[in-house]
């Protein structure tokens, strides 16, 4: 006969342990990646991004002319909706810590807040890169189906386009994260992120004196060349860099400053 003894109830001894090391950035990044998928909301956002990609390819399989059913034509259109959804991911990754009040736990465990922010930025950037891979994979499936069903099924795609797509998606998600960092409130950051560039774009069209600066500051215009496989000119890169300074680097810096000083309660 075996006798099982109940474990000693409530025994907690403060243990002596070996000198503790601080968590590495790699570890913190892994934690942040896990946070992106361990809630229903986060999981569904990622699933939606995948589904949108698949839906766009499917629509093209049905409605695009056979000659247009190429790898290139499946890949490029899927980038735009994803580049709209990714910033939401960036925003939520940063702001949910405050809206769900987990910042209290997170920053108690890692008081060097800039390391948490860095880990978050790396995590969402990796997700953006993964979205490019997903777009490529879904486009590849579409191309295979197209060649089997009488479409063109051409596989030609310049490597530069993949690089451009990666730049587009990573900067999109980082712009969102920057807005999140600056505003620290999910609805405010999402509305701000979606609205401000649009207003700026409309103003740039309507107000003639703004048309010149808009060409340098309206990300929807400066980023447009990234959707093509043509090599970008120096000026085009210049416009991208200037617009990103305004919409990504500046809010990122101001947001980091704010996050580091903000009282967590």
């Amino acid at each position: 006969m075996t006798i099982t003894t109940a474990p000693a109830a409530g025994a907690v001894a403060p243990r002596q342990h070996t000198p503790v090391r601080r968590p590495s950035l790699l570890r913190l990044t892994a934690v942040e990646l896990r946070k992106l998928v361990d809630t229903r909301a986060g999981r569904w956002l990622l699933i939606t991004i995948g589904l949108v990609t698949a839906a766009i390819v499917t629509l093209q399989l049905i409605y695009a002319r056979d000659a247009d059913q190429t790898f290139l034509n499946f890949f490029v259109p899927s980038l735009l909706p994803v580049s709209v959804l990714l910033p939401v991911l960036g925003i939520l990754s940063i702001t949910s810590e405050w809206s769900q009040r987990t910042a209290l736990t997170t920053y108690a465990l890692v008081p060097r807040r800039e390391r948490v922010v860095a880990a978050k930025l790396i995590a969402v950037s990796l997700t953006a890169l993964a979205s490019v891979l997903t777009s490529l994979a879904v486009a590849a499936v579409g191309t295979s189906v197209a060649s089997a069903s009488g479409g063109a099924g051409t596989w030609q795609l310049d490597g530069s386009l993949i690089v451009n797509a990666a730049i587009l998606q990573v900067t999109s998600v980082l712009m969102g994260a920057a807005f999140g960092l600056l505003l620290l409130n999910p609805p405010l950051a999402i509305v701000g992120y979606l609205l401000l560039p649009t207003i700026w774009g409309v103003l740039g069209e309507m107000v003639r004196p703004l048309r010149g600066p808009a060409g340098w500051l309206d990300t929807s215009r400066t980023m447009e060349p990234l959707f093509s496989s043509d090599a970008l000119t120096g000026e085009q890169w210049g416009r991208i860099v200037v617009s990103l300074l305004a919409w990504m680097v500046l809010p990122l810096a101001a947001g980091l400053f704010r996050t580091l000083r903000r009282e967590v309660s």
């Binding site: 474990p7 409530g10 025994a11 907690v12 001894a13 403060p14 243990r15 002596q16 342990h17 503790v20 090391r21 601080r22 968590p23 570890r27 913190l28 892994a30 934690v31 896990r34 946070k35 361990d38 809630t39 229903r40 909301a41 949910s96 769900q100 009040r101 987990t102 910042a103 209290l104 736990t105 920053y107 108690a108 465990l109 890692v110 008081p111 060097r112 000083r261 009282e263 967590v264 309660s265």
Partner: protein, 298 residues
Amino acid sequence: MITVENLTKRYGPHPAVDDVSFHCEPGTVTGFLGPNGAGKSTTMRMICGLTAPTTGRATVAGHPYRELPNPGREVGVLLDASAQHAGRTGREALTLSAYTMGLDKREVAAKLDLVGLNAVAAKRRVRAYSLGMRQRLGLAHALLGDPRVLILDEPANGLDPEGIFWMRGLLRDFADRGGTVLLSSHLLREVEAVADRLVVIGGGRIVAQGDKNELLAGGGTVVRARDVAALRRALDAADLSAADSSEGLLVQADAEAVGQAAADAGVALAELRPAGGGGLEQLFLTLTAGESTKEAVR
């Protein structure tokens, strides 16, 4: 070990915490007492590096909190049990922290077990937790890294009597094995039962601190008269401050002085005795008399 030196936090001109100093030794439970809004939570957040003090400093295990390399392994912190992502399961919330601290995954199961959250509860999302369950989860979280110091803000909130009794035992045991506990509460009975030392704060300032037994010994005098208004006037005339308590007026003076004051004014007393039965509650009422009402109208 926790050391707090001259901590002050101002929001605009209003000091939420005003020149607070105390320390907590290993092997002791320190009860941090005060009415709501007295500055307990702000002080605790400053100790944990979550709120920057206006002036002063605090160290845990000899270092400012923000300089601890892996604070979760040194200090267990529970500042607000509700501050958990509603969409995560209890187990997931602990797993994230265990991974951050570099702990074995088995610690998660062990601590869930310790606080009495079973497998079913652990798999539920925090949104579905009662306050008591959140407190248990928060306690599991604080204990996760096997720290030597615990900083707990109102951990008994929402626990049932059995849970409060259990937690008292857990904290006593932790301290008896050499741990340091700082425990805030406005539930006086709770702290009286478990604390060795008391730090009482009101209106942002420390109004009393020291060994629990010593503080309780100086609990003042309870006095009762049929004509309460006359008694109050008599005490005022003798320059003795009186606070209402459930048993009568509580006066910070010995029985002789109170009796003399009443006799001088010709007030007949119905009762005159040293406070003590009510213990901490009386002390608490006396020390914070006026502070909480000031807080309410602020």
